[in-house]
């Protein structure tokens, strides 16, 4: 029986046109731009200086505090600049600019294609390796993985859920990764099983990925303690809280994390990175990116080095047509429209979409007709229309009372609204205002 979460959800068009396209190496750009903040928490502290020679995998900056992450070089070459560079949204951000020379790896990295199956490390060693590899949640939030895998003593993990849902339209990065690297992901799940001392890993896959389901299922038959569960296609199935509900029937309490419901959710991409970090000593410096969209001439799945400018990938896919209205980092539902094509791919960028006016146009907002569709669609069970009203009238205390902070910013409300009210934007703004007020106190 296929499973899904209980309330809300929508069914946007899938557009998974690249699900049959194999992952290819994007190659090396001339310069890479590596931001110091590619994760939730504090920016990393720089260790290199201008003129330093670095190799692939050299530590460039180390974590500043507990909630932060190490950052490694994704190319070999020379550090030419450490300065404020425009990021995807046009704001200044400190980045390390490296001029690419050759492709020399750090000697500790195992570059062979062999699959290492025996887990000989203790759980402390594994967490240490994950920390040193600078792994963060690659689903988009970028929460540092070592923090997530260090379980407080009073809490207990019952399930490990590997998130292979990828509910965003267009994106197929996790889909292709599961098809081509199923065994590595299963071993990655076994590694996490070992940390938590459980035999209960579940790889959750959407039913619209039949190839991935078959391949991963065949692999899991050979491993104990890792199973595949097929989930019904519905957006936002890939949200942590929705996935916990879908798989276990438990609900994550308001303001709490999945661990409070006895679950740990890790993205399939993160699990693959954990495998590479633990078994191959490979830090997180590359990821899979889907370049797609209705304006994209040659949609592809790329293996991309972190820091590669977006324009480099666009060129690889046949350039930027004049009709392109928006270029988006991530998926169309939760992603960010970028205004700077030189912006680098980070650890969190799962897709690069070139969309036409038809797909992206936002008609003028009309008055709310009280149809209640947003309430139906909200997977958390909030009242988005009310959040919109409170934000527009600056009623910050009210916002807190109607649990605006529980919003996961999935955008289902804005997608479904017949009056075209930008409810998602209001929710985001409301959350910022609440945080501002809390800080002020």
């Amino acid at each position: 029986m296929t499973k899904t979460f209980s309330i809300g959800g929508i069914h946007p068009d899938k557009h998974k046109i690249t699900s049959q396209t194999p992952i290819i190496d994007a190659g090396l750009p001339e310069y890479v731009y590596i931001p110091l903040k590619q994760h939730a928490g504090a920016p990393a502290k720089i260790l290199v200086k201008k003129g330093d020679k670095v190799k692939v995998g050299t530590l460039l900056a180390n974590a500043d505090g507990v909630i932060s992450s190490d950052i490694h070089s994704s190319v070999s070459g020379e550090v030419v600049k450490i300065d404020d560079v425009q990021d995807a949204l046009g704001y200044d951000e400190q980045m390390i600019v490296i001029k690419v020379e050759g492709d020399e790896f750090e000697p500790s990295i195992d570059q062979s294609a062999d699959i290492v199956k025996d887990i000989t490390f203790s759980s402390e060693e594994i967490i240490q390796k994950i920390r040193e590899a600078g792994i963060v949640g690659m689903g988009g939030a970028g929460f540092p993985t070592p923090v997530k895998t260090t379980i407080p003593e009073e809490k207990k993990v019952d399930y490990l859920i590997v998130n292979g849902i990828e509910c965003e339209p267009w994106l197929t990065a996790d889909d292709r990764l599961m098809v081509e690297h199923a065994e590595e992901i299963v071993i990655g799940a076994k590694i996490l099983n070992k940390i938590f001392g459980i035999q209960n890993a579940i790889i959750a896959i959407d039913e619209n990925k039949p190839e991935a389901i078959e391949v991963v299922r065949n692999v899991t038959r050979r491993y104990v303690g890792v199973n595949v569960r097929v989930c019904k296609t519905k957006y936002p199935q890939g949200g942590e809280k929705q996935l916990v509900t879908a798989i276990t029937g438990r609900e994550v309490p308001s303001g709490k994390l999945p661990i409070d419901a006895g679950c740990i959710v890790q993205n399939a991409g993160t699990v693959f990175a954990i495998y590479e970090a633990v078994m191959k000593n490979k830090p997180l410096f590359e990821r899979i990116v889907t370049v797609s969209g209705d304006e994209c001439a040659k949609p592809q799945n790329f293996k991309v080095r972190v820091g590669t400018p977006a324009s480099f990938l666009i060129e690889k896919c046949g350039g930027l047509p004049d009709e392109t209205a928006e270029v988006i980092f991530g998926g169309p539902m939760m992603g960010q429209t970028i205004i700077n094509l030189q912006a680098p791919i980070t650890k969190l960028t799962s897709g690069l979409l070139l969309l036409s006016e038809k797909e992206t146009h936002r008609p003028d907002m009309m008055d709310c007709i009280r149809c209640g569709k947003c309430v139906d669609a909200c997977p958390i069970g909030l009242r988005p229309f009310l959040i919109g009203i409170c934000v527009r009238n600056n009623m910050i205390d009210e916002l807190k009372n109607i649990h605006a902070m529980d919003c996961i910013e999935c955008g289902s409300c804005a997608y479904i609204c017949p009056a075209r009210i930008p409810l998602l934007d209001f929710c985001k703004l409301g959350k910022i205002e609440i945080r501002k007020k809390q800080k002020g106190k």
């Binding site: 404020d84 046009g90 704001y91 200044d92 146009h361 936002r362 930008p422 934007d425 703004l429």
Partner: protein, 279 residues
């Protein structure tokens, strides 16, 4: 017929008894209110804008009546201005505090001409939302977003978007310096400054904190933090590549020289005759 008569009698008796009860209750729980509160409230503008720091005009007049001669000097209605405060002071028999008249100024001159749009904006018309989405059309991370949230926020209709420049302009006569625009602008571009003698005031019409070369790329009239103005007047400070002219700097004394020497034209002077500056 009987039933009507008995009803009238019963209701009459109830009404009479209730009247007696209400009379005694009202005597017992009577609240003495200073009649001056009503009197002052009549004098106040009645906009209930909250610019004075109180919840509304009624709240402000209560505070005035409670205040003594010293603490009254801290109360000021910026909307009514000196004239209103004089009247209020007369009612209470205090001396009115003398305060300079103030007005809101926009610390950005990123007009469509000075800072041309690089991207087209296709999203809800709201500065607060535009600020979340991206850096803005001009590419300046501190500049005006041109969506007019301040215009909607102004309770006195003193702000309007100039269709030619694309940025809001302040109507000096209507502006009461209530501060609604200061609170609303997501980039904090408004400042309440003294009107100055003959409406002459000098200020830096820029909020950009980027390095000079980067700032100029997006906007012709950006402050580049060149420190030239600090040499003319010592009170002026440059922080984060951005100059700030304190309100104490006299526009008559330094204004013309500052405007003349600013290499980008970020320093603006109002109320001055242009010929005099460019002699």
């Amino acid at each position: 017929m009987d039933i009507i008569v008995s009803d009238i009698i019963a209701l009459g008796v109830i009404a009479f008894l209730s009247a007696i009860v209400l009379y005694f209750v009202s005597q017992k729980f009577k609240v003495e209110e200073n009649p001056k509160i009503d009197e002052i409230e009549q004098i106040l503008p009645g906009a209930n804008c909250g610019a004075c720091g109180k919840a509304g005009c009624r709240n402000f007049s209560e505070a005035c009546v409670k205040a003594d001669a010293e603490s009254f000097k801290n109360l000021y209605c910026p909307v009514g201005g000196a004239a209103t405060m004089k009247k209020v002071a007369d009612v209470l028999g205090f001396d009115a505090a003398v305060k300079e008249e103030t007005v809101a100024v926009l610390k950005c001159n990123g007009t469509c001409q000075n800072a041309p749009a690089k991207i087209s904006y296709d999203a809800p018309v709201s500065c607060r939302l535009a600020n979340l989405i991206s850096v803005g059309q001009s590419g300046c991370p501190n500049g005006c977003l041109r969506q007019g949230d301040c215009v909607k926020a102004c309770p006195f209709g003193a702000l309007s978007i100039n269709p030619e420049t694309g940025i809001p302009q302040v109507d000096e006569n209507k502006c009461t310096s209530c501060g609604a625009c200061v609170k609303m602008c997501p980039r904090g571009l408004f400042e309440i400054r003294p009107k100055g003698k003959n409406g002459q005031r000098v200020y830096v019409a820029c909020s950009n904190k980027q390095k000079g070369a980067v700032a100029r790329k997006n906007c012709k009239v950006a402050c580049i933090g060149c420190m030239k103005c600090t040499k003319i007047c010592e009170q002026i400070k440059v922080e984060n590549n951005l100059s700030y002219i304190p309100t104490t700097v006299s526009a008559q004394e330094f204004g013309a020289e500052l405007v003349k020497n600013c290499p980008t034209g970020a320093i603006v002077m109002t109320g001055a005759e242009k010929e005099k500056i460019h002699d």
